[in-house]
Amino acid sequence: MLEIRDLHVKFHSRDREAVSGVSLRIEDGEILGLVGESGSGKSVTAMSVAGLLPRKQCTLSGDILLDGQDLLHADRALLRQIQGKKIGVVFQEPMSAMDPLMRVGEQVGEVLRIHTGLDKEERKRLVLQAMESVELQDPEAVYRKYPHELSGGMLQRAMIAAAIVIEPQLLLLDEPTTALDVTIQAQILELLKKLNRERGISMLFISHNLNVVRKLCSRVAVMQKGKLVETGATEDVFFHPQHPYTKKLIEAIPTRHGKETA
């Protein structure tokens, strides 16, 4: 469903390409893990899929196809019809990713307001449904709350609800659990798995933490310095890493957990 072919991204302010020649495929209903340390280009890859790179500040080449439709060279108007509707994004820090002055319910329903002609009542019904499916307690109350009134875990659930409320084809998850406690992290991973299983949403899951990726993804791609160094079924890569960098990453997995930010 998503195909990235020979993607190159170079920011004008940097000498080195942020992404150089990455090719990836995500099949329908698949969760692909994208792993690498900070600066490896994994987030930039995801942001270019979501059309969130500042076009004036970088040069892009290659192809990004969503069901055959070119995203990389699409004009802004077309891109906006895809953003939110076909591709949902969940970011790392839910607290800063949410508008602090807009009620959570309204933010969850924003995609509906932009992409559908539904009236307020109808939108609210769908928002509450989405909140329920991400297992938010007392959706009615959460609907009226402001972001600062919720915990990080609840906010991230709300962010996921906001991304899936319109049933997108692809969910981009940019380190969605990194800023959260380990227990909450596990819950969110379970939730993502459930959403994938029940609704068949494809996901691109980005993390610097191989352990987390292993719990969620069937396939994994490893990036280093803008290049793809290894791709394969998660277990294969985990037990028989081919590339020395992958080996290093696996060795570096902390036995407890590493909560550094990427």
Binding site: R76, G84, F91, D99, L101, M102, Y146
Partner: protein, 316 residues
């Protein structure tokens, strides 16, 4: 509701404090006004009589509370210089100054908010430096200089108004406002430049926040990102700044009144300082201080209404 009451309570305490400090300060410096008024040859009987008439023979706190009570009942004491009740002297001047300041504030708000948002579009553009330089220039020209040029150009050459002759606010409201408008513009120009500068940097810093990226990822276009998200988030700093501006306008008005010959509070204050007319100076200072504190409170309350996070902290 609770924070509103708390804020209003704080406002009253601040006003009380300001009035007390002002009264204290002027009591300390004013020496013996009766002596000053009557001169060195005055007989002790006449001095005592005048002191009694002005209430100077009472203890300090009695005088303060008497003055405070008088303040709220419109009895502000007697001017040493004019020997007339202070309130009779300043009532019309309060109106004129208030009208001019409000006018100036409206101009600032109406001009700078749209321009501030619009100037965001220039960021990084080839003419951005020109805008910055022009902004600096507007801040550099003192309002009393602009005032001189405007009163000469529009007053003497074009005869749109007669400098020094402000029509009565009650009987000729329109004409008076037209007159004050020119002065208000002169006060507004540098403030507009400052507000635009502030808004621009606020919008830029808001635009760099993560929630903007989220908004774009949901399919908001540039316009919607600005109107649905960024503007509301920029509003708090803008309101705080405009509150400060409202206070600073008073500072500007003092000088501009002098230029245009507007019979306002500022001009009267300056004259009264020259006469060492302490009851008048003290009253005007307290009135202007109340005004500043009141505007600050209104700005705070508005901000708490906009940003729910401010309701919790109890920050004042």
């Amino acid at each position: 509701m609770k924070y509103t009451l708390k804020r209003i309570g704080l406002l009253l305490i601040t006003m009380l404090l300001v009035s007390f400090l002002t009264f204290l300060a002027f009591s300390l410096v004013s020496g013996d006004p009766a002596q000053t008024k009557l001169g060195t040859e005055a007989t002790p009987e006449r001095l005592a009589a005048l002191r009694h008439e002005w209430g100077l023979d009472q203890p300090f706190f009695v005088r303060y509370f008497r003055w405070l009570a008088g303040f709220f009942s419109g009895n502000l004491g007697v001017s040493y210089h004019y020997s007339k009740p202070v309130w009779d002297l300043i009532a019309s001047k309060v109106e004129v100054t208030l009208c001019m300041c409000l006018l100036s504030f409206v101009i600032i708000t109406l001009v700078s908010i749209p321009l501030g948002i619009w100037s965001y579009r220039w960021v990084g553009g080839p003419f951005d430096w020109l805008r910055t330089a022009f902004n600096q220039l507007c801040m550099a020209v003192p309002p009393f200089f602009t005032g001189m040029l405007v009163s000469y150009g529009f007053g003497i050459v074009l005869r749109v108004f007669v400098p020094g002759d402000v029509p009565d606010l009650h009987t000729q409201f329109g004409a008076a406002v037209k007159h004050l408008f020119f002065a208000a513009v002169c006060i507004a120009i540098p403030r507009i430049a400052m507000t635009i500068r502030m808004m621009r940097s606020t919008v830029i810093s808001e635009m760099n926040k993560s929630y903007v990226r989220t908004a774009i990822s949901r399919g908001n276009d540039r316009h919607a990102v600005l109107t649905k998200h960024v503007l509301k988030n920029s509003l708090v700093s803008t309101i705080t700044f405009l509150g400060q501006t409202m206070a600073e306008i008073i500072g500007g008005s003092i000088v501009v009144e002098q230029v245009f010959g507007i019979p306002g509070l500022g001009r009267f204050l300056v004259a009264s300082i020259g006469y060492r007319d302490y009851p008048v100076v003290q009253t005007i200072v307290v009135i202007l201080a109340f005004w500043v504190v009141l505007v600050g409170t209104i700005a705070d309350l508005l901000n708490q209404h906009i940003d729910p996070r401010l309701r919790l902290g109890g920050k004042t």
